[in-house]
Symmetry: none
Subunit: 246 residues, 2 copies
DNA sequence: AACATTAATACCACTTAAATACCACGTCAA
DNA sequence: TTGACGTGGTATTTAAGTGGTATTAATGTT
Protein backbone atom coordinates (compact mmCIF):
# COMPACT_ATOMS: atom_id res chain seq x y z
CA UNK A 1 0.00 0.00 0.00
CA UNK A 2 1.34 3.46 0.94
CA UNK A 3 2.26 4.75 -2.48
CA UNK A 4 -0.48 2.72 -4.06
CA UNK A 5 -3.09 5.06 -2.63
CA UNK A 6 -2.07 7.50 -5.32
CA UNK A 7 -3.37 5.12 -7.93
CA UNK A 8 -6.77 4.94 -6.26
CA UNK A 9 -7.24 8.72 -6.05
CA UNK A 10 -10.34 9.75 -7.97
CA UNK A 11 -10.15 12.19 -10.91
CA UNK A 12 -11.00 15.81 -10.29
CA UNK A 13 -13.38 15.96 -13.22
CA UNK A 14 -16.51 14.51 -11.76
CA UNK A 15 -18.08 13.28 -14.94
CA UNK A 16 -18.67 9.92 -13.24
CA UNK A 17 -19.59 9.55 -9.57
CA UNK A 18 -16.76 9.21 -7.09
CA UNK A 19 -17.86 5.82 -5.83
CA UNK A 20 -17.95 4.37 -9.33
CA UNK A 21 -14.47 5.64 -10.15
CA UNK A 22 -13.17 4.13 -6.93
CA UNK A 23 -14.97 0.84 -7.52
CA UNK A 24 -13.41 0.52 -10.93
CA UNK A 25 -9.92 1.31 -9.71
CA UNK A 26 -10.30 -1.13 -6.84
CA UNK A 27 -11.55 -3.87 -9.16
CA UNK A 28 -8.49 -3.37 -11.35
CA UNK A 29 -6.25 -3.52 -8.30
CA UNK A 30 -7.85 -6.73 -7.10
CA UNK A 31 -7.50 -8.39 -10.46
CA UNK A 32 -3.89 -7.24 -10.59
CA UNK A 33 -3.37 -9.20 -7.39
CA UNK A 34 -2.72 -6.41 -4.90
CA UNK A 35 -4.28 -8.65 -2.28
CA UNK A 36 -4.37 -12.38 -2.03
CA UNK A 37 -7.29 -14.69 -1.48
CA UNK A 38 -9.07 -14.21 1.85
CA UNK A 39 -6.91 -11.23 2.69
CA UNK A 40 -8.69 -8.18 4.08
CA UNK A 41 -8.99 -5.01 2.05
CA UNK A 42 -8.19 -1.77 3.86
CA UNK A 43 -11.19 -0.92 6.02
CA UNK A 44 -13.84 1.43 4.76
CA UNK A 45 -12.60 4.07 7.19
CA UNK A 46 -8.98 3.72 6.12
CA UNK A 47 -9.92 4.10 2.47
CA UNK A 48 -12.11 7.11 3.10
CA UNK A 49 -9.48 8.81 5.26
CA UNK A 50 -6.66 8.08 2.85
CA UNK A 51 -8.55 9.32 -0.21
CA UNK A 52 -10.24 12.21 1.61
CA UNK A 53 -13.76 11.07 0.80
CA UNK A 54 -16.65 10.17 3.06
CA UNK A 55 -16.87 6.68 4.44
CA UNK A 56 -20.27 6.08 2.89
CA UNK A 57 -18.81 6.83 -0.53
CA UNK A 58 -16.02 4.34 0.00
CA UNK A 59 -18.59 1.92 1.27
CA UNK A 60 -20.70 2.37 -1.84
CA UNK A 61 -17.68 1.52 -3.96
CA UNK A 62 -17.26 -1.63 -1.88
CA UNK A 63 -20.91 -2.45 -2.55
CA UNK A 64 -20.16 -2.57 -6.26
CA UNK A 65 -17.28 -4.99 -5.70
CA UNK A 66 -19.51 -7.20 -3.58
CA UNK A 67 -22.10 -7.14 -6.31
CA UNK A 68 -19.43 -8.31 -8.73
CA UNK A 69 -18.51 -11.09 -6.33
CA UNK A 70 -14.92 -9.88 -6.00
CA UNK A 71 -15.07 -9.41 -2.26
CA UNK A 72 -17.14 -10.49 0.70
CA UNK A 73 -18.05 -8.48 3.79
CA UNK A 74 -18.05 -9.70 7.38
CA UNK A 75 -19.76 -7.47 9.91
CA UNK A 76 -17.36 -6.30 12.56
CA UNK A 77 -14.44 -7.97 10.89
CA UNK A 78 -13.60 -6.61 7.49
CA UNK A 79 -13.98 -6.96 3.74
CA UNK A 80 -12.20 -9.90 2.21
CA UNK A 81 -11.06 -10.99 -1.23
CA UNK A 82 -13.12 -13.86 -2.61
CA UNK A 83 -10.83 -16.72 -3.60
CA UNK A 84 -10.86 -17.14 -7.37
CA UNK A 85 -10.83 -20.90 -7.36
CA UNK A 86 -13.36 -21.05 -4.54
CA UNK A 87 -12.48 -22.59 -1.24
CA UNK A 88 -9.49 -24.88 -1.13
CA UNK A 89 -10.75 -27.90 0.77
CA UNK A 90 -8.32 -28.25 3.62
CA UNK A 91 -10.88 -29.06 6.26
CA UNK A 92 -12.97 -32.11 6.73
CA UNK A 93 -16.35 -31.29 5.38
CA UNK A 94 -19.25 -33.35 4.17
CA UNK A 95 -20.18 -33.48 0.56
CA UNK A 96 -23.24 -31.38 1.19
CA UNK A 97 -21.33 -28.48 2.70
CA UNK A 98 -18.69 -28.57 0.00
CA UNK A 99 -21.21 -28.30 -2.81
CA UNK A 100 -23.15 -25.52 -1.15
CA UNK A 101 -19.92 -23.54 -0.93
CA UNK A 102 -19.51 -23.91 -4.64
CA UNK A 103 -23.00 -22.72 -5.37
CA UNK A 104 -24.55 -26.06 -6.24
CA UNK A 105 -27.75 -27.44 -4.80
CA UNK A 106 -26.77 -30.81 -3.35
CA UNK A 107 -29.05 -33.82 -3.03
CA UNK A 108 -28.66 -37.57 -2.82
CA UNK A 109 -30.47 -40.82 -3.66
CA UNK A 110 -30.15 -43.92 -1.52
CA UNK A 111 -29.14 -47.04 -3.39
CA UNK A 112 -28.48 -49.28 -0.39
CA UNK A 113 -28.87 -49.15 3.38
CA UNK A 114 -28.36 -52.55 4.96
CA UNK A 115 -26.66 -54.61 7.64
CA UNK A 116 -24.13 -57.12 6.39
CA UNK A 117 -21.29 -59.45 7.27
CA UNK A 118 -17.95 -57.65 7.21
CA UNK A 119 -15.24 -58.92 4.93
CA UNK A 120 -12.12 -60.23 6.57
CA UNK A 121 -10.25 -57.06 5.73
CA UNK A 122 -12.99 -54.87 7.22
CA UNK A 123 -12.93 -56.95 10.40
CA UNK A 124 -9.27 -56.16 10.84
CA UNK A 125 -9.42 -52.47 9.86
CA UNK A 126 -12.43 -51.70 12.04
CA UNK A 127 -11.29 -53.96 14.86
CA UNK A 128 -14.52 -55.98 14.95
CA UNK A 129 -15.26 -59.03 17.02
CA UNK A 130 -16.00 -62.16 14.92
CA UNK A 131 -19.76 -61.86 15.47
CA UNK A 132 -20.03 -58.11 14.82
CA UNK A 133 -21.75 -56.84 11.71
CA UNK A 134 -21.38 -53.74 9.59
CA UNK A 135 -23.77 -51.22 8.11
CA UNK A 136 -23.37 -50.55 4.41
CA UNK A 137 -24.56 -47.35 2.78
CA UNK A 138 -24.52 -46.55 -0.90
CA UNK A 139 -25.90 -43.50 -2.58
CA UNK A 140 -25.78 -41.25 -5.59
CA UNK A 141 -24.66 -37.71 -4.88
CA UNK A 142 -26.23 -35.06 -7.07
CA UNK A 143 -25.42 -31.43 -7.78
CA UNK A 144 -28.27 -29.47 -9.29
CA UNK A 145 -29.87 -32.79 -10.17
CA UNK A 146 -26.88 -34.22 -12.02
CA UNK A 147 -25.13 -37.30 -10.67
CA UNK A 148 -21.73 -36.28 -9.49
CA UNK A 149 -20.49 -39.16 -7.43
CA UNK A 150 -21.26 -42.61 -6.10
CA UNK A 151 -20.50 -43.05 -2.44
CA UNK A 152 -20.19 -46.31 -0.57
CA UNK A 153 -19.65 -46.33 3.19
CA UNK A 154 -19.04 -49.10 5.67
CA UNK A 155 -19.34 -48.62 9.42
CA UNK A 156 -19.47 -50.97 12.40
CA UNK A 157 -23.12 -51.82 12.99
CA UNK A 158 -22.76 -50.86 16.64
CA UNK A 159 -22.46 -47.21 15.68
CA UNK A 160 -25.48 -47.22 13.38
CA UNK A 161 -28.08 -49.60 14.79
CA UNK A 162 -30.80 -48.38 12.43
CA UNK A 163 -29.50 -47.57 8.92
CA UNK A 164 -32.95 -46.43 7.81
CA UNK A 165 -32.84 -43.59 10.30
CA UNK A 166 -30.03 -41.76 8.55
CA UNK A 167 -31.17 -38.56 6.93
CA UNK A 168 -29.36 -36.82 4.12
CA UNK A 169 -26.15 -36.25 6.09
CA UNK A 170 -24.23 -39.19 7.52
CA UNK A 171 -21.94 -36.95 9.52
CA UNK A 172 -24.84 -35.04 11.06
CA UNK A 173 -26.43 -38.34 12.05
CA UNK A 174 -23.22 -39.59 13.63
CA UNK A 175 -22.88 -36.29 15.49
CA UNK A 176 -26.33 -36.81 17.00
CA UNK A 177 -25.40 -40.28 18.16
CA UNK A 178 -22.27 -38.91 19.78
CA UNK A 179 -19.83 -40.50 17.33
CA UNK A 180 -18.48 -37.47 15.51
CA UNK A 181 -15.91 -38.01 12.81
CA UNK A 182 -13.22 -35.55 13.76
CA UNK A 183 -10.26 -36.52 11.62
CA UNK A 184 -9.97 -38.33 8.33
CA UNK A 185 -7.29 -39.71 6.07
CA UNK A 186 -8.15 -39.32 2.43
CA UNK A 187 -6.51 -41.38 -0.22
CA UNK A 188 -7.01 -40.15 -3.74
CA UNK A 189 -6.38 -42.07 -6.91
CA UNK A 190 -7.67 -42.33 -10.46
CA UNK A 191 -9.60 -45.32 -11.79
CA UNK A 192 -11.39 -46.27 -14.96
CA UNK A 193 -15.16 -46.57 -14.51
CA UNK A 194 -16.39 -50.16 -14.50
CA UNK A 195 -19.84 -51.10 -15.78
CA UNK A 196 -21.60 -50.68 -12.46
CA UNK A 197 -20.15 -47.30 -11.57
CA UNK A 198 -20.48 -46.05 -15.15
CA UNK A 199 -24.18 -46.94 -15.20
CA UNK A 200 -24.83 -45.35 -11.82
CA UNK A 201 -22.89 -42.16 -12.46
CA UNK A 202 -23.80 -41.62 -16.08
CA UNK A 203 -20.39 -41.79 -17.72
CA UNK A 204 -18.99 -44.10 -20.36
CA UNK A 205 -17.27 -47.30 -19.26
CA UNK A 206 -13.55 -46.68 -19.00
CA UNK A 207 -13.83 -42.96 -18.31
CA UNK A 208 -11.39 -41.66 -15.70
CA UNK A 209 -12.89 -41.05 -12.27
CA UNK A 210 -11.41 -39.94 -8.99
CA UNK A 211 -11.65 -42.64 -6.37
CA UNK A 212 -11.44 -41.11 -2.92
CA UNK A 213 -11.05 -43.55 -0.07
CA UNK A 214 -11.70 -42.04 3.29
CA UNK A 215 -10.86 -43.41 6.72
CA UNK A 216 -12.86 -41.52 9.34
CA UNK A 217 -11.71 -41.39 12.97
CA UNK A 218 -13.50 -40.29 16.13
CA UNK A 219 -11.97 -38.00 18.73
CA UNK A 220 -10.77 -41.14 20.53
CA UNK A 221 -8.87 -42.05 17.41
CA UNK A 222 -11.08 -45.02 16.65
CA UNK A 223 -11.64 -45.83 12.99
CA UNK A 224 -15.39 -45.94 12.44
CA UNK A 225 -15.87 -45.11 8.77
CA UNK A 226 -14.60 -46.55 5.51
CA UNK A 227 -15.91 -44.67 2.50
CA UNK A 228 -15.20 -44.99 -1.20
CA UNK A 229 -16.33 -42.15 -3.42
CA UNK A 230 -16.21 -42.30 -7.21
CA UNK A 231 -16.24 -38.73 -8.47
CA UNK A 232 -16.88 -37.31 -11.89
CA UNK A 233 -14.20 -34.70 -11.82
CA UNK A 234 -15.97 -32.37 -14.14
CA UNK A 235 -18.04 -31.57 -11.10
CA UNK A 236 -15.75 -32.32 -8.22
CA UNK A 237 -12.26 -31.01 -8.61
CA UNK A 238 -10.20 -31.49 -5.56
CA UNK A 239 -8.25 -28.43 -4.56
CA UNK A 240 -5.61 -28.36 -1.88
CA UNK A 241 -3.51 -25.53 -0.58
CA UNK A 242 -0.06 -26.49 0.56
CA UNK A 243 2.44 -24.50 2.55
CA UNK A 244 6.15 -24.79 2.91
CA UNK A 245 7.55 -24.57 6.37
CA UNK A 246 10.70 -22.67 5.47
CA UNK B 1 15.75 -22.50 27.18
CA UNK B 2 16.79 -19.52 29.39
CA UNK B 3 18.39 -17.26 26.83
CA UNK B 4 16.15 -18.66 24.10
CA UNK B 5 13.19 -16.77 25.54
CA UNK B 6 14.68 -13.70 23.98
CA UNK B 7 14.09 -15.20 20.54
CA UNK B 8 10.42 -15.74 21.27
CA UNK B 9 9.75 -12.16 22.40
CA UNK B 10 7.13 -10.52 20.20
CA UNK B 11 7.86 -7.39 18.21
CA UNK B 12 6.74 -4.08 19.61
CA UNK B 13 5.02 -3.10 16.41
CA UNK B 14 1.65 -4.78 16.71
CA UNK B 15 0.83 -4.96 13.05
CA UNK B 16 0.09 -8.65 13.49
CA UNK B 17 -1.59 -10.03 16.63
CA UNK B 18 0.69 -11.12 19.45
CA UNK B 19 -0.53 -14.70 19.43
CA UNK B 20 0.22 -15.09 15.74
CA UNK B 21 3.72 -13.71 16.12
CA UNK B 22 4.36 -16.12 18.96
CA UNK B 23 2.86 -19.06 17.07
CA UNK B 24 5.17 -18.41 14.15
CA UNK B 25 8.25 -18.11 16.32
CA UNK B 26 7.35 -21.27 18.19
CA UNK B 27 6.76 -23.18 14.96
CA UNK B 28 10.19 -22.15 13.75
CA UNK B 29 11.70 -23.24 17.06
CA UNK B 30 9.99 -26.63 16.89
CA UNK B 31 11.15 -27.23 13.35
CA UNK B 32 14.63 -26.16 14.39
CA UNK B 33 14.55 -29.00 16.89
CA UNK B 34 14.52 -27.09 20.18
CA UNK B 35 12.55 -29.98 21.62
CA UNK B 36 12.60 -33.72 20.98
CA UNK B 37 9.64 -35.78 19.87
CA UNK B 38 7.11 -36.35 22.68
CA UNK B 39 8.93 -33.83 24.83
CA UNK B 40 6.77 -31.26 26.61
CA UNK B 41 6.81 -27.62 25.61
CA UNK B 42 7.08 -25.07 28.42
CA UNK B 43 3.65 -24.78 30.03
CA UNK B 44 1.26 -22.07 28.94
CA UNK B 45 1.82 -20.29 32.24
CA UNK B 46 5.59 -20.42 31.94
CA UNK B 47 5.46 -18.99 28.45
CA UNK B 48 3.08 -16.23 29.39
CA UNK B 49 5.08 -15.27 32.49
CA UNK B 50 8.38 -15.36 30.67
CA UNK B 51 7.18 -13.24 27.75
CA UNK B 52 5.01 -10.95 29.88
CA UNK B 53 1.83 -11.71 28.02
CA UNK B 54 -1.47 -13.14 29.22
CA UNK B 55 -1.84 -16.86 29.45
CA UNK B 56 -4.79 -16.89 27.07
CA UNK B 57 -2.65 -15.22 24.44
CA UNK B 58 0.06 -17.83 24.84
CA UNK B 59 -2.63 -20.46 24.75
CA UNK B 60 -4.01 -19.08 21.52
CA UNK B 61 -0.58 -19.36 19.96
CA UNK B 62 -0.50 -23.00 21.10
CA UNK B 63 -3.87 -23.49 19.42
CA UNK B 64 -2.31 -22.55 16.10
CA UNK B 65 0.47 -25.09 16.56
CA UNK B 66 -2.09 -27.77 17.37
CA UNK B 67 -4.02 -26.86 14.26
CA UNK B 68 -0.84 -27.32 12.27
CA UNK B 69 -0.38 -30.69 13.88
CA UNK B 70 2.99 -29.75 15.35
CA UNK B 71 2.02 -30.40 18.96
CA UNK B 72 -0.64 -32.23 20.92
CA UNK B 73 -2.27 -31.18 24.19
CA UNK B 74 -3.03 -33.41 27.16
CA UNK B 75 -5.32 -31.96 29.80
CA UNK B 76 -3.62 -31.70 33.15
CA UNK B 77 -0.37 -32.90 31.77
CA UNK B 78 1.16 -30.61 29.22
CA UNK B 79 1.65 -29.84 25.55
CA UNK B 80 3.85 -32.26 23.65
CA UNK B 81 5.75 -32.30 20.39
CA UNK B 82 4.15 -34.51 17.76
CA UNK B 83 6.66 -37.00 16.32
CA UNK B 84 7.55 -36.03 12.75
CA UNK B 85 6.34 -39.33 11.38
CA UNK B 86 2.80 -38.63 12.55
CA UNK B 87 2.68 -35.10 11.21
CA UNK B 88 0.29 -34.74 8.29
CA UNK B 89 1.91 -34.00 4.98
CA UNK B 90 0.37 -30.63 4.42
CA UNK B 91 3.72 -29.15 3.58
CA UNK B 92 4.77 -28.25 0.13
CA UNK B 93 7.31 -30.76 -0.88
CA UNK B 94 8.88 -31.69 -4.13
CA UNK B 95 8.51 -35.03 -5.81
CA UNK B 96 11.93 -36.13 -4.71
CA UNK B 97 11.31 -35.66 -1.00
CA UNK B 98 7.92 -37.27 -1.21
CA UNK B 99 9.26 -40.43 -2.77
CA UNK B 100 12.17 -40.70 -0.38
CA UNK B 101 9.71 -40.57 2.51
CA UNK B 102 7.93 -43.55 1.00
CA UNK B 103 11.09 -45.53 0.61
CA UNK B 104 11.50 -45.22 -3.16
CA UNK B 105 14.65 -44.19 -4.92
CA UNK B 106 13.63 -41.25 -7.07
CA UNK B 107 15.22 -40.21 -10.35
CA UNK B 108 14.17 -38.28 -13.43
CA UNK B 109 14.83 -38.00 -17.14
CA UNK B 110 14.67 -34.72 -19.02
CA UNK B 111 12.44 -34.71 -22.06
CA UNK B 112 12.45 -30.98 -22.72
CA UNK B 113 14.24 -27.90 -21.40
CA UNK B 114 13.64 -24.90 -23.64
CA UNK B 115 12.70 -21.26 -23.91
CA UNK B 116 9.43 -20.60 -25.67
CA UNK B 117 6.71 -18.09 -26.45
CA UNK B 118 4.01 -18.10 -23.78
CA UNK B 119 0.45 -18.82 -24.78
CA UNK B 120 -2.03 -16.04 -24.30
CA UNK B 121 -3.40 -17.68 -21.19
CA UNK B 122 0.06 -18.09 -19.69
CA UNK B 123 0.79 -14.41 -20.35
CA UNK B 124 -2.19 -13.45 -18.25
CA UNK B 125 -1.69 -15.99 -15.46
CA UNK B 126 2.00 -15.24 -15.01
CA UNK B 127 1.57 -11.50 -15.58
CA UNK B 128 4.11 -11.35 -18.39
CA UNK B 129 4.92 -8.37 -20.58
CA UNK B 130 4.21 -8.98 -24.29
CA UNK B 131 7.87 -9.57 -25.10
CA UNK B 132 8.63 -11.86 -22.16
CA UNK B 133 9.28 -15.54 -22.75
CA UNK B 134 8.80 -18.66 -20.67
CA UNK B 135 10.92 -21.66 -19.80
CA UNK B 136 9.34 -25.04 -20.41
CA UNK B 137 10.46 -28.15 -18.58
CA UNK B 138 9.25 -31.66 -19.18
CA UNK B 139 10.52 -34.79 -17.59
CA UNK B 140 9.78 -38.34 -16.64
CA UNK B 141 9.74 -39.05 -12.94
CA UNK B 142 10.93 -42.48 -11.91
CA UNK B 143 10.68 -44.47 -8.72
CA UNK B 144 13.10 -47.35 -8.48
CA UNK B 145 13.59 -47.05 -12.22
CA UNK B 146 9.91 -47.31 -13.15
CA UNK B 147 8.20 -44.33 -14.79
CA UNK B 148 5.74 -42.95 -12.35
CA UNK B 149 4.74 -39.59 -13.69
CA UNK B 150 5.20 -37.09 -16.49
CA UNK B 151 5.76 -33.56 -15.32
CA UNK B 152 5.47 -30.44 -17.40
CA UNK B 153 6.35 -27.04 -15.91
CA UNK B 154 6.15 -23.51 -17.22
CA UNK B 155 7.91 -20.59 -15.56
CA UNK B 156 8.65 -17.02 -16.60
CA UNK B 157 12.01 -17.04 -18.36
CA UNK B 158 13.20 -14.22 -16.11
CA UNK B 159 13.34 -16.60 -13.16
CA UNK B 160 15.22 -19.32 -15.02
CA UNK B 161 17.63 -17.68 -17.46
CA UNK B 162 19.47 -20.93 -18.13
CA UNK B 163 17.18 -23.98 -18.25
CA UNK B 164 20.13 -26.29 -18.82
CA UNK B 165 21.52 -25.38 -15.42
CA UNK B 166 18.69 -27.00 -13.51
CA UNK B 167 19.76 -30.09 -11.68
CA UNK B 168 17.45 -32.82 -10.52
CA UNK B 169 15.37 -30.62 -8.24
CA UNK B 170 13.57 -27.60 -9.65
CA UNK B 171 12.65 -26.31 -6.22
CA UNK B 172 16.22 -26.54 -4.97
CA UNK B 173 17.38 -24.63 -8.03
CA UNK B 174 14.79 -21.91 -7.51
CA UNK B 175 15.79 -21.70 -3.84
CA UNK B 176 19.38 -21.02 -4.88
CA UNK B 177 18.28 -18.25 -7.21
CA UNK B 178 16.26 -16.67 -4.41
CA UNK B 179 12.85 -17.47 -5.83
CA UNK B 180 11.56 -20.05 -3.41
CA UNK B 181 8.12 -21.47 -3.99
CA UNK B 182 6.49 -21.07 -0.63
CA UNK B 183 2.83 -21.73 -1.26
CA UNK B 184 1.04 -23.74 -3.89
CA UNK B 185 -2.49 -24.45 -5.01
CA UNK B 186 -2.96 -27.99 -6.19
CA UNK B 187 -5.86 -29.04 -8.33
CA UNK B 188 -6.38 -32.75 -8.68
CA UNK B 189 -8.53 -34.48 -11.24
CA UNK B 190 -8.69 -37.74 -13.13
CA UNK B 191 -8.05 -38.02 -16.89
CA UNK B 192 -7.73 -40.78 -19.46
CA UNK B 193 -4.22 -41.12 -20.83
CA UNK B 194 -3.84 -39.83 -24.38
CA UNK B 195 -1.36 -41.32 -26.83
CA UNK B 196 1.53 -39.06 -25.89
CA UNK B 197 1.25 -39.45 -22.15
CA UNK B 198 0.53 -43.16 -22.44
CA UNK B 199 3.68 -43.68 -24.49
CA UNK B 200 5.81 -41.62 -22.13
CA UNK B 201 4.52 -43.15 -18.93
CA UNK B 202 4.15 -46.72 -20.05
CA UNK B 203 0.44 -47.24 -19.58
CA UNK B 204 -2.27 -48.18 -22.06
CA UNK B 205 -4.12 -45.40 -23.86
CA UNK B 206 -7.29 -44.59 -21.94
CA UNK B 207 -5.96 -45.70 -18.58
CA UNK B 208 -6.99 -43.47 -15.69
CA UNK B 209 -4.28 -41.10 -14.47
CA UNK B 210 -4.20 -38.43 -11.82
CA UNK B 211 -3.63 -35.01 -13.34
CA UNK B 212 -2.26 -32.66 -10.72
CA UNK B 213 -2.10 -29.01 -11.71
CA UNK B 214 0.04 -26.92 -9.44
CA UNK B 215 0.23 -23.14 -9.18
CA UNK B 216 3.38 -22.18 -7.27
CA UNK B 217 3.70 -18.82 -5.51
CA UNK B 218 6.69 -17.03 -4.04
CA UNK B 219 6.69 -15.40 -0.62
CA UNK B 220 5.66 -12.15 -2.35
CA UNK B 221 2.62 -14.00 -3.60
CA UNK B 222 3.77 -13.89 -7.19
CA UNK B 223 2.76 -16.85 -9.34
CA UNK B 224 5.95 -18.21 -10.88
CA UNK B 225 5.20 -21.84 -11.60
CA UNK B 226 2.56 -23.70 -13.59
CA UNK B 227 3.02 -27.46 -13.45
CA UNK B 228 0.96 -30.33 -14.80
CA UNK B 229 1.78 -33.78 -13.48
CA UNK B 230 0.29 -36.95 -14.91
CA UNK B 231 0.63 -39.66 -12.28
CA UNK B 232 0.29 -43.41 -12.45
CA UNK B 233 -1.56 -43.91 -9.24
CA UNK B 234 -0.31 -47.38 -8.66
CA UNK B 235 2.84 -45.65 -7.54
CA UNK B 236 1.72 -42.21 -6.47
CA UNK B 237 -1.37 -42.10 -4.33
CA UNK B 238 -2.18 -38.72 -2.97
CA UNK B 239 -2.87 -38.71 0.72
CA UNK B 240 -4.31 -35.85 2.68
CA UNK B 241 -5.19 -35.51 6.31
CA UNK B 242 -8.23 -33.43 7.07
CA UNK B 243 -9.44 -32.01 10.33
CA UNK B 244 -12.82 -30.87 11.40
CA UNK B 245 -12.93 -27.44 12.91
CA UNK B 246 -15.86 -28.17 15.21
C1' DA C 1 -40.98 22.48 -8.99
C1' DA C 2 -40.43 17.56 -7.91
C1' DC C 3 -37.67 13.83 -7.71
C1' DA C 4 -33.67 10.73 -7.67
C1' DT C 5 -28.81 10.54 -7.06
C1' DT C 6 -24.57 11.61 -4.72
C1' DA C 7 -22.11 12.46 -0.78
C1' DA C 8 -21.48 13.68 4.16
C1' DT C 9 -22.35 13.07 9.36
C1' DA C 10 -23.38 10.63 13.39
C1' DC C 11 -24.44 6.79 15.79
C1' DC C 12 -25.36 1.54 16.28
C1' DA C 13 -23.94 -3.48 16.22
C1' DC C 14 -20.69 -7.04 15.60
C1' DT C 15 -15.88 -9.20 15.86
C1' DT C 16 -11.52 -9.68 17.67
C1' DA C 17 -7.43 -9.40 20.65
C1' DA C 18 -6.07 -9.68 25.02
C1' DA C 19 -6.56 -9.89 29.96
C1' DT C 20 -8.51 -11.77 34.40
C1' DA C 21 -10.34 -15.16 37.29
C1' DC C 22 -11.79 -19.45 38.14
C1' DC C 23 -12.68 -24.69 36.91
C1' DA C 24 -11.12 -29.60 35.89
C1' DC C 25 -7.88 -33.07 35.00
C1' DG C 26 -2.90 -35.59 36.00
C1' DT C 27 0.68 -36.52 38.51
C1' DC C 28 3.22 -37.74 42.39
C1' DA C 29 4.83 -37.68 46.97
C1' DA C 30 3.25 -38.11 51.74
C1' DT D 1 -5.27 -43.65 49.23
C1' DT D 2 -5.24 -38.94 49.17
C1' DG D 3 -4.44 -34.21 48.67
C1' DA D 4 -1.43 -30.45 47.00
C1' DC D 5 0.35 -28.66 43.00
C1' DG D 6 1.02 -28.06 38.24
C1' DT D 7 -1.12 -28.74 34.01
C1' DG D 8 -4.68 -27.50 30.44
C1' DG D 9 -9.97 -25.67 29.90
C1' DT D 10 -13.27 -21.94 29.85
C1' DA D 11 -16.40 -18.01 30.96
C1' DT D 12 -16.33 -13.17 31.19
C1' DT D 13 -14.79 -8.63 30.38
C1' DT D 14 -12.72 -4.55 28.05
C1' DA D 15 -11.17 -1.73 24.38
C1' DA D 16 -10.37 -1.00 19.79
C1' DG D 17 -11.50 -1.77 15.18
C1' DT D 18 -14.77 -3.30 11.80
C1' DG D 19 -19.09 -3.04 8.97
C1' DG D 20 -24.44 -1.34 9.20
C1' DT D 21 -27.76 2.33 8.88
C1' DA D 22 -30.64 6.48 9.56
C1' DT D 23 -30.58 11.19 8.59
C1' DT D 24 -29.46 15.23 6.11
C1' DA D 25 -27.56 18.48 2.58
C1' DA D 26 -26.09 19.35 -2.07
C1' DT D 27 -26.42 18.26 -6.83
C1' DG D 28 -28.28 16.86 -11.16
C1' DT D 29 -32.31 15.24 -13.90
C1' DT D 30 -36.97 15.32 -15.32
Amino acid sequence: MDDRWQLLKPDETRSTPLYLQLAQKLATAINAGWWRADEALPSERTVSDELCISRVTARKAFDVLIDQGLVRRRHGSGTFITPRTEQPMSRLTGFTELLRQRGFEPSSVWLERLIDQPTHEEQIQLGLSPAAKVTRLKRQRLADGVVMAIEQSTLPNSYLPDPQAIGSSLYAHLDQLGYSVVRALQHIRAVNANEEIAALSGVRVGEALLLITRLGYTADNVLIELTDTWCRNDYYDFVAELKRWT
